[in-house]
């Protein structure tokens, strides 16, 4: 049973369409679609009672901002979160995948997930793809062994650190951390420092922008502060607002519930008797 569930999936990429794609690119002059990157500033730090993760909210496709308010802090477990930089699809897919694996693992073991488990699952996955899965992650959480913060690079290497930054804005954010980080920060000091570091990335790095998302993880609780700070509001908002002139006429309405409520009747005594 255990071996079936833990079976390793088919390895690597599928190259069946390679010849056809190559022909399209060279002979037919087809331009390949660009991929959505998260320019990004993501940070994490360990404070007195746990871990604080922070991220900006800009997703870019080349030099265009594709999403002004995307979510870069992903859920891995009730006590673990992960910020992702790099190709948006890769970070989304890899964190979702390991999230599911961790859930199955929790059912098998009956215990709270540990951060090192998430770390090992992520690093073995990324190493198998030899850096082609372009996901650079900041993984943080609190388990029974205490608070943990790790950085994971696309090739599968990891570092355990008290404070960490990743993404194109990492140098700007690291400058803030290196000058102001101390061990044993309080929750408020930690949140302020993380906000400051992300803002440094937002305002000094072109690949990062918009708002600041924060996630505070302490023993037994996780708090996601979506859009904790919005230092880039939309300047010119039309006073007319949105209105649709022609309304669609409703001819007929029918509701089909997808989940049926079933009544379970408990029969006391010997029910199964002819």
């Amino acid at each position: 049973m255990l071996s079936e569930a833990m079976d390793s999936p088919k390895l690597g990429f599928n190259f069946d369409l390679y010849t056809r794609n190559h022909m399209l690119l060279t002979k037919k002059g087809l331009k390949p679609p660009g991929y959505l990157k998260t320019g990004t500033t993501i940070v994490g730090l360990i404070f007195k009672n746990g871990v604080i993760l922070g991220a900006d909210t800009r997703a870019t496709a080349g030099s265009i901002v594709a999403d002004k308010n995307c979510e870069k802090i992903h859920d891995m477990a009730p006590n673990i979160s992960c910020c992702g930089a790099g190709t948006a699809a890769d970070t989304e897919a890899v964190t979702d995948n390991i999230n599911s694996q961790l859930k199955l693992h929790r059912y098998h073991t009956g215990r709270e997930s540990r951060v090192v488990t998430a770390l090992t699952l992520l690093k073995t996955h990324l190493f198998r793809y030899q850096g082609h899965v372009s996901a650079a992650l900041v993984l943080g959480g609190v388990d029974l062994t205490g608070p943990h913060l790790y950085t994971i690079y696309p090739h599968g290497s990891t570092d355990s650190l008290p404070f960490a930054t990743m993404g194109s804005g990492s140098l700007a954010a690291m400058a803030v951390f290196e000058s102001e980080f101390r061990e044993g920060l309080s929750r408020e000091e930690g949140i302020n420092l993380v906000t400051k570091a992300i803002c440094s990335g937002i305002f000094n790095d072109l690949g990062s922008g918009s708002n600041v998302d924060i996630c505070v993880i302490e023993k037994g609780k996780k708090e996601y502060l979506r859009n904790h700070l919005t230092p880039n509001p939309r300047t010119y908002i039309s006073s007319k607002g949105y209105s649709f002139s022609k309304k669609t006429e409703v001819l007929h309405a029918k509701v089909t519930p997808l989940k049926e409520l079933v009544n379970v009747v408990e029969v006391v005594g010997d029910a199964m008797e002819e």
Partner: protein
């Protein structure tokens, strides 16, 4: 390959020196991605078993994965053997992985430890997967800067303090000259009884030619060393 998206590598300086039957391993602490120090505080001396440690250099991902695999195989081996693993077995397991995957891996390793049959031993396993048992081993990009220094200074039968001083001096020489090495110097001393970890932060290292002492701010020394203004 000089930007933040380069693969994580440990340019590195790693050293392994046996002395008087025990072993000392030393390393710097810089992990670089291109020209940025991704981790200024890494621990490149990883534990394989209670009595065998490994110094890693080259690609961070490759060396971490190899050490994880070997730790697992060594553990299985120890369960079958019923006693602590020997340094030779650990080194050979690493060599088997490094050699058979030589096209994919880019990592130079130094294995050091103590076992009851041979005492303290050092094995070097450079790129390609050769295994070489050596009286001392140096590796990583920073090691090129003290080949001559080591040839001259190393002698057989050093004491623990002499050996540790030699290791720290050599790593600090490499840190001074190699851009890919830096941070602090970590050492691990393995003997028959126990394992001791030591840590030498930057300001405890000796200063070399033209190096400035660590300051809170360079403005402090600039003002004191300014020349007299020219008077006509």
């Amino acid at each position: 390959m000089n930007d933040i998206n380069s693969p994580h590598s440990m340019g590195t300086t790693i050293i392994g020196v046996p002395y008087a039957g025990d072993v000392i391993l030393g390393a710097d602490s810089r992990t670089s991605t291109g020209l940025y120090a991704a981790n200024r505080d890494s621990d490149k001396i990883t534990q394989l078993t209670d009595n065998v440690y490994l110094c890693r250099s080259g690609s961070a991902a490759d060396s971490q994965i190899v050490s994880d695999y070997v730790r697992h195989f060594l553990h299985q081996h120890m369960m079958q053997l019923g006693q602590p693993a020997t340094v030779k077995v650990a080194a050979n397991l690493i060599r088997l992985l490094s050699y058979s995957n030589k096209n994919m891996l880019q990592t130079g390793l130094i294995v050091g430890g103590w076992d009851k049959y041979e005492g303290g031993k050092i094995y070097g396993i450079p790129l390609g997967g050769t295994i070489v048992e050596q009286p001392f081993a140096i590796g990583g990009s920073g090691s090129t800067y003290f080949y001559g220094f080591f040839d001259q200074e190393w002698k057989d039968g050093m004491t623990k303090d002499e050996a540790e001083k030699l290791v720290v001096k050599a790593v600090s020489l490499a840190i001074a000259r190699d851009g890919a090495s830096g941070g602090v110097v970590r050492t691990v001393i393995i003997n028959s009884e126990d394992v001791t970890r030591n840590f030498y932060p930057g300001d405890t290292l000796p200063l070399w030619h033209e190096e400035l002492a660590p300051q809170n701010s360079l403005l402090d020394i600039l003002s004191s060393a300014s020349p007299e203004p020219m008077v006509s």
